[in-house]
């Protein structure tokens, strides 16, 4: 029997409450001291297309997903058809027996290619092209089938609470599927009830109805099938204070903490969630006084406090330029976007670079080019971020590997922007934005805000915004500061900021601006530039950047537990590139494996460009779904065994 190591998946049409169901499942596990990693997949669609949420549970920290599913929770046909074949032989399928007769051809939302594959799979197993066929095929492998009479249970809830309109109970079927899963896993119902109450906290009566329904499904599953099931979940004592964080919150919380007080955005998936989170929390808690409820109500605090202005602009051009304008006035300002929006920001980023404006751009990568696959994952924008805009211009590019890094890196991004007076592009992605995780409570005490070299009010009329200094950094004045009149222009300019085409001044200004990158490379602490994980002296070294970190670390854990030696160099500062440090780590390795969620292995190219070192292997993926722990484990094993081709392309994921 496997205890507290589980992958659970729920799916359903978009708009049917799959997210809340997963939220209940994840929270119930988390309340019981278990750790979770959740991954959300969905179409670019409002309603009706297939979405799913996959949660991996463990007593230890989990940072990635596994492809095989132990418990598949469904309440409709499509999820069952799409995912049943990935359920482990010792796993289970929770389903509504009423959908068993649904045929594949009755479901228009499964793409033609996937339909063909599915039919071929079922035909090969001698079963029908229907939900029943998929169930039969699963049963052949020993998968436990758990039918839950969902209509009957919903009717019972309706009777109990005198609900005439069954539409009010449309979400209850999801809760039934969640709760039946828990019954099967013999988990503690108290934690489930707590999670149900939390998720439906806005309406007590709805919470009560769902809790009642959850009990029905839980008992049904436990009584009928609980005893023999190969997987179990049980609460454990948590040894630390833990939070349950969704990806879109991590950067938002970092912005609040960093002192970002103006954020602009134009709606785009998957970046907008962060801006909406900020807008919903525009008034921020400040000061010791705010600790008491009375103080929170006081007129003083209502009129004096930190707040963040979130502006939905007419396009991304306005988003970056408005953020620039606010930064000129001294506000820590940012914008958040994704590939297509980032494309529109080029000119505004160049303007910020030539005028030495500290502005932060949070770039949520998604599958491109063009509209690409708006809700799917890719790390395709590294070169683009480094070279965004025309001309030679300084910018700092950082990339976070997980939600914790996303949080702390956001504060650092603003510090870098203000210290080096240039745009900072902070790269995250769809995989991070749509993942959910239990994490240790963020360590706030060590966080520091560094605003860089600032000008002071003066009365001699001699302020020069772009004063040439040995460091290349000029004291920064903000609009409204007495005696600091300055000019900005997108043209090349002199020390005061007036247009010039003088060749000598041009050279001095180029050297001033670009020199700041050398300074940044020198000053930014090594731990913010790269991180080394695993065996220092391993012959085989993985190099990567961004959100692949979780799957790499989890795969390495498995490999190292099996006695294999492997190291991982994670790049966190991509521009300026930490060339010497990277070269030092890479030199002398037998195998260097570049792992990236893109076609071109862009980091491998950058490494070659900056160090002259060619990686020996690449492991890439570009079908839009994040890398899983198991496929990475397999591809790294192949490298360790000396059996890997130079390029491995991963392809798992529905």
């Amino acid at each position: 029997m496997t205890r507290n190591e589980l992958t659970w998946l729920i799916g359903g049409p978009q708009g049917s409450g799959v997210d809340s169901s997963a939220n209940i499942f994840g929270r119930a596990c988390a309340y019981g001291g278990l750790q979770i990693f959740g991954k959300r997949e969905y179409y670019s669609n409002i309603m009706g297309e297939h979405s799913y949420f996959q949660i991996r549970v463990s007593e230890n920290q989990v940072r990635s997903h596994l492809d095989p599913v132990n418990v598949l929770a469904t309440f409709e046909a499509e999820t069952l058809l799409r995912h049943a074949q990935y359920v482990t032989d010792d796993g289970a399928i929770v389903y509504d027996p009423e959908v068993a007769s649904t045929k594949i051809d009755d479901i228009p939302t499964i793409e033609a290619r996937a339909t063909q594959d599915l039919k071929a799979y079922l035909t090969a197993r001698g079963v029908g092209e229907s939900v029943q066929g998929a169930l039969d095929a699963a049963a052949q492998r020993g998968v436990l089938l758990l039918p839950v009479p969902m209509t009957e249970f919903v009717a019972q809830v309706a009777r109990k609470f005198n609900v005439d309109q069954l539409s009010r109970l449309s979400r209850t079927v999801n809760v039934l599927a969640v709760s039946a899963s828990f019954g099967l896993l013999d988990y503690d119902f108290a934690e489930i009830a707590k999670a149900v109450r939390y998720v439906f906290r806005a309406k007590k009566s709805v919470a009560e109805m769902n809790e009642f329904g959850a009990r029905l499904a839980y008992d049904h599953a436990k009584q009928n099938h609980g005893s023999g099931f190969a997987h179990r979940l049980a609460p454990v004592a948590a040894n630390e204070k833990r939070i349950f964080v969704a990806g879109s919150q991590a950067v938002g919380l970092g912005k609040m903490l960093s002192g970002c007080r103006l954020q602009t955005y134009y709606p785009i998936t998957p970046a907008s969630d962060e801006s909406e989170f900020l807008e919903a929390n525009a008034v921020l808690p400040t000061g010791a006084e705010a600790d008491s409820p009375e103080a929170q109500e006081s007129a003083f605090l209502k009129e004096n406090g930190n707040s963040i202005v979130v502006m939905q602009t007419e396009d991304e051009i306005a988003a970056i330029t408005m953020a620039n304008g606010a930064a000129l006035a001294g506000t820590r300002s940012a914008t958040a976007t994704s590939g297509p929006g980032f494309c529109l920001m080029m000119e505004g980023i160049g303007w910020a670079a030539i005028n030495e404006v500290p502005v932060v751009i949070t770039l949520y990568q998604r599958a491109g080019p063009s509209t690409g696959m708006p809700t799917r994952h890719e790390q395709g924008d590294l070169r683009f971020a480094i070279h965004a805009g025309h001309g030679d211009s300084p910018r700092i590019v950082t990339a976070s590997g997980d939600l914790e890094e996303s949080f702390y890196d956001t504060v650092k991004s603003f510090n870098f922007a203000e210290r080096y007076q240039c745009p900072v592009i902070h790269i995250v992605d769809k995989a991070l934005a749509n993942s959910t995780q239990t994490l240790p409570y963020f360590a706030l005490d060590g966080v520091r805000i560094e605003r860089g070299v600032l000008a002071r009010p003066r009365d001699d009329g001699g302020y020069r915004r772009f004063e040439l200094t040995p460091s290349g950094i000029s004291p920064r004045a903000v609009l409204g500061m007495p005696g600091t009149i300055f000019w900005n222009t997108g043209d090349e300019h002199d020390e005061r900021g007036h247009i010039t085409e003088d060749p000598v001044v041009r050279m001095l200004m180029m050297e001033k601006r670009m020199g700041k990158l050398d300074l940044a490379a020198k000053e930014i602490p090594p731990e913010d530039q790269y991180a080394f994980h695993g065996d220092k002296d391993a012959e085989t070294l993985v190099v990567s950047w961004g959100s692949t970190k979780g799957a790499i670390l989890d795969a390495m854990e498995v490999l190292r537990a099996a006695g294999r030696k492997i190291g991982f160099l994670q790049l966190r500062l991509l521009h300026p590139f930490p060339s010497e440090a990277v070269a030092k780590v890479l030199r002398g390795r037998k195998a260097i494996v570049d792992v990236e969620m893109n076609y071109s292995a862009t980091l491998a190219g950058l490494i070659r460009e900056h160090t002259g070192i060619a990686v020996t292997h690449t492991v890439v993926k570009y079908q839009g779904r994040a890398m899983s722990c198991n496929e990475l484990r397999d591809s790294l094993t192949a490298v360790l065994d000396g059996k890997a081709p130079p390029r491995q392309v991963l392809r798992h994921g529905v």
């Binding site: 964080v245 525009a282 202005v309 330029t321 609009l479 997108g490």
Partner: protein
Amino acid sequence: MASEVLLRPADFQSDVHNDWCPGCGDFGILKALQMALADLKFERHNVAIFSGIGCSAKTVHYVTTYGIHTLHGRVLPFAMGAKLANPSLQVVALGGDGDGLGIGAGHFVNAGRRNLDMCYLIFDNGVYGLTKGQASPTLKLGLKPKSLPAPNINDAVNPLWLALASGATFVGRGYSFDIKHLRDLIAKGIRHRGYAFIDVLQPCPTYNNLNTKDWYGGEDLVDAAERKTPRVYKLEERGVDPVVHTLEDTEAKQLQALKYALQWGDAIPIGVFYQNEQLPTFEDRLQDRIPSYAVEPPARQVIADAQGRPTVRLNKLLDELVVT
């Protein structure tokens, strides 16, 4: 904010060499702007002038306030960002007709929807001067200034109509060769509580040989007694009251403004077409959401203590996420 020592218009003149063509209408606008700033008794550091790209955009380098010369078409979002961050700044945006109504048309419309308390001037000469005289969005269909190889194939947008349709709460038009009138109009626009748009008719002596100083002055409109009738006339001299005194006036005043804004040809009105201070500004609307906005707008918030520790108490939000 009034200063102790009042600044004269000349005090707002920088030492930067002005490279506009001789006879350019921009000189009059620069002068009128400097006079308006002096009349408004502004201190330099409380004024930020933003510009787009083009001849007009160089204006900011000739003025001794903060001068932010931005990107082609993007002057409004830059200016709005600064105003939102620090609403006590006096923010003036300016640029050409191509800048504001061609490449920047989207921002032109959305600035109207927001109604921030700021003033935007368009230097309207019908051509793209700095790139050698191509047709701009205010050049009428079929016109052929000498810089065009063929008559204009596009029709013109009406800036005043577009401003009204977009929600601007102050819509005016000035003429660069009537400096005193323009000075007062700019001062009114800046004083206006909300978003003021002013279209300034500005002959380009180098590329637009149709809408010239002589043409606006009516040199060709001579009666039997050889008297000239200037094309440009002042709305206020015809007793037009553009002000929305109560919200019920709105439709009538908008229709009146649209009517006068249609006039062109031998009679071209200048002055205030429409003014409505009965509507909440964007700052008012933000204030409703964020009670501390007026006292502590973004740029005035203290975000860290002397040791760099953040002032925000993030633990209050993190506590809501705690599961164990």
